[in-house]
Amino acid sequence: NGDSGDGEDTDTEDTTEDTGSEGDSGEEASGEPQEGGTLNYAIDGEPEGILNVHYYGTATDFEIIQFAVDPLFEYDENLAIQPNVADWSTEDNKVYTFTFEEGIKWHNGDELTVEDWKFALETLASPDYEGPRYANVETIEGAKAYRDGEADSISGIEVISDYEIKITFDKARVNNLLNVWSYPMNRSYWEGVEVADILDSEKTRQSMMGTGPFKLTKVVPGESYQFEANEDYWKGAPKLDKVIVKVIDNKAVIGALENGDVDMVPVHPTLGEQVENMENVDLVTYPGLAYYYVGFKFGKFDNEKKEVVEQNDKYANLELRKAMYHAINRDEWIDAFFSGYGSKVNAPVPTAHWIAADQDELNDYAYDPEKAKSLLDEAGYKDVNDDGFREDPNGEEFVINFAHYSSTNPTFESRAKALTQYWEEVGLKAELEMIESSLYYDKLEKDAEGIEVYFGGWGTGSDPDPSALWKSDQLWNYTRWVNEESDQLLEDAIDIDVVGTDQEKRKEVYGEWQKLLNEQLPMLYIAELQEIYGVNKRVGGVEFDVSGSNSPHEWYIQN
């Protein structure tokens, strides 16, 4: 469904509310490191079971995969890209030369070479490729031709030696490196498997081939996954002997943590307090990269023409949107529904991200019902028929039709309801419609009738480019907000001619853009959340920052 198009990042808002983004900041366990031991790692949602980093679709699957793979590059605590397996050099942000670490072994003993990466890129660009990652190779020169069958190979890829490879992108961009697919694929392992068959293959479902710190040794589908230490891991043998990833029900998280059945598990904010109170468990938090918002539908999108074709004026009035913003007590709301493990945001970029604008430069639409009322009065939204609710400036009945996705989680309904109540308190009649979550984003995408104001969430990837969500010619620009200035700023931010290779310059442009959105309010930005893990005190060596955790080979069990 809706995805910001970034490789490592995934569905940011789904029924189980995983926000599988990586972040920053840390927490350290103390105690004596110990060799060996088994770590029980839990995921509280059902994985789809695609154990292939090139194909997986949900964050849950990646939580399993992460133990066995090792990306070519990694991100530091500022989300700045760093060499890992590979280092790179470029002159012009168009042609890159990558140099691989030598002597890295695949789990089956094969040596990792640039051929494996080439193989990965070719697979992703193959016309038969069924996974969602074509976008990560699309920018390589010749990838499109390869995919369309016009070429036998991707012209932009040039193997120099076993450890050196040159990649040419179709044009210079600031984010070419951030975007390009950064996992190799063991060519000999996949020998004999057609690209079209990879997804269904046993090799995808029952086993995994990586270079990471742990080897997958056993799979009980949908239930548990067993990893053993990769003693040949190039950064050093893992301290743990084994990692077992268990799928557990959300209900069981607390109990399982408490009685030590699992050592490590992502925790929903509402459970934070309970985990915090546990004696045997540390609550680890780090800033997340996801945010919630209330969007307005300003029009309808024509996917063929790639443009917004119809206008909806109901919420065109900025004063109205501002009033609605002021009416919401975001602090109270976050406290109530996320137990405080979150904070307000004033623009569609989580504050932990390096492109986040200086918060002082943004308007903070603080909770101020009086102001909301006076804004509404000024804008002509007055109660003319004394039914307790305001009518629109024409004296017609005005009802905010608010949509929220539903699942079995009953808090969704109440948090959505709470928002409508805020509006009603300032005299705006609001009606809530809960829409089955499996249909929700589909409806948003199709601009379904009846959805006017809607609740949504999104995660930002390590590549901060938000074009896919905001440019007026993008399907995923759900608000159908068309603003030339915004479009221009977004283009500028990735235009090498404008920002060059200077991160600061880029950040500045994004800052401008955030200010614009903070002024124009095509959305009401509500909250960003923290990522929370419950980690048993016996586990040591785990560090988290905004980019996620450190490599599991450093984790250990202590007494």
Binding site: E48, I50, P132, V220, E223, I244, I248, K251, E304
Partner: protein, 321 residues
């Protein structure tokens, strides 16, 4: 006997066809691409969709579509899961053993408990013990299985730590070994208990009442009159008669197991067909959903068949041929 079974099996075909038609129309009523999971839901390119629709035959007349679907289905081609992106048949093959195991275990539990309690209560009706068992059963009947399941996890897994609260097996043991089986039993016990408890209460009461009924029958008097010891009368003459209706419940049990599995498996995160069904509903995984629905109906049908056949086998008064 064989002839009868064959005939009944043949007789199931029209029923299955009808059910499959209903399921087919349900599938048509569902939004999206119910049958194959082939259309990539992320791809919204209308051309692509149209092309796929044509390729997959969605533009054919309904009866042709049905024919294609059902012939595929009969040959084991259930389409491809939207959520898991593998053939539904593989998915079913993964989950079915677990559900079977859970079902069998819960049946064993049901029958063991029901026999023990029912016979005790039926033999000494209106005593304290009988009232106790009766009261217990009323409670069991009144507690919905999902409440029981939540309680069981809360109490046995978290408070006491006796049983695991999820999964079907400990991954650390090797498949096929004794340990592996033990681990399976260990993991399945709690959900099986909850699932089995539903049946236990009604079976116990049924057995008790039937034993009391039968102990007033003329043939019991006959047995006594010929000097048969009391224990033999109960364990033999009465029990045999009371067990007959109970055994035939076995067929109907399959039906309630299907219903029960939905809830229990979901609560215990037990990877079986019931849980798969619910996830597939939630994820609008229509191919899986359709397959399971049809499969469950099939199980019900088979259950009824088994009930009839068992009846013929265990009760000499019923002659089937």
């Amino acid at each position: 006997m064989l002839k009868y079974t064959l005939r009944r099996l043949l007789g199931m075909i029209p029923m299955l066809l009808l059910i499959s038609i209903v399921v087919f129309f349900l599938a048509l009523a569902m939004p999206g691409d119910p049958f194959s999971g082939e259309i990539d839901p992320n791809n919204t390119d209308p051309e692509y969709i149209e092309e796929m629709r044509e390729k997959l035959g969605y533009n054919d007349p309904i009866h042709v579509q049905y024919y294609d679907w059902i012939t595929g289905f009969v040959q084991g081609d259930f389409g491809k899961s939207v959520k898991y992106k593998i053939p539904v048949s593989d998915l079913v093959a993964q989950r079915l053993p677990n559900t079977l195991f859970l079902g069998i275990m819960s049946l064993v539990i049901t029958y063991c408990f029901a026999f023990a309690m029912g016979m005790t209560a039926g033999r000494k009706p209106y005593t304290k013990l009988d009232h106790f068992i009766g009261g217990f059963n009323y409670m069991m009947l009144a507690i919905p299985s999902y409440i029981a399941g939540v309680f069981a996890i809360y109490f046995f897994s978290f408070q006491l730590g006796w049983f695991p609260f999820n999964g079907s097996v400990n991954i650390a043991v090797d498949e096929g070994t004794l340990d592996w089986w033990l681990s399976k039993v260990y993991h399945t016990f709690l959900p099986a208990l909850v699932l089995g408890a539903m049946g236990t209460a009604s079976y116990t009461q049924f057995l008790r009442n039937d034993i009391i009924d039968n102990s007033n029958k003329d043939f019991v008097r006959t047995a006594r009159a010929k000097g048969t010891p009391e224990s033999r009368i109960y364990n033999h003459h009465i029990l045999r008669n009371s067990v007959i209706p109970l055994i035939t419940f076995l067929g109907f049990d399959l039906v309630s197991l299907v219903n029960g599995a939905l809830i229990t498996e979901t609560i215990f995160t037990y990877p079986g067909l019931g849980q798969l069904f619910l996830t597939s509903v939630q994820a609008s995984d229509y191919p899986t959903l359709m397959t399971l629905t049809l499969m469950f109906s099939f199980i019900v049908l088979v259950g009824n068949l088994i009930a009839d056949i068992l009846y013929g086998i265990v009760d000499p008064r019923i002659r089937i041929d």
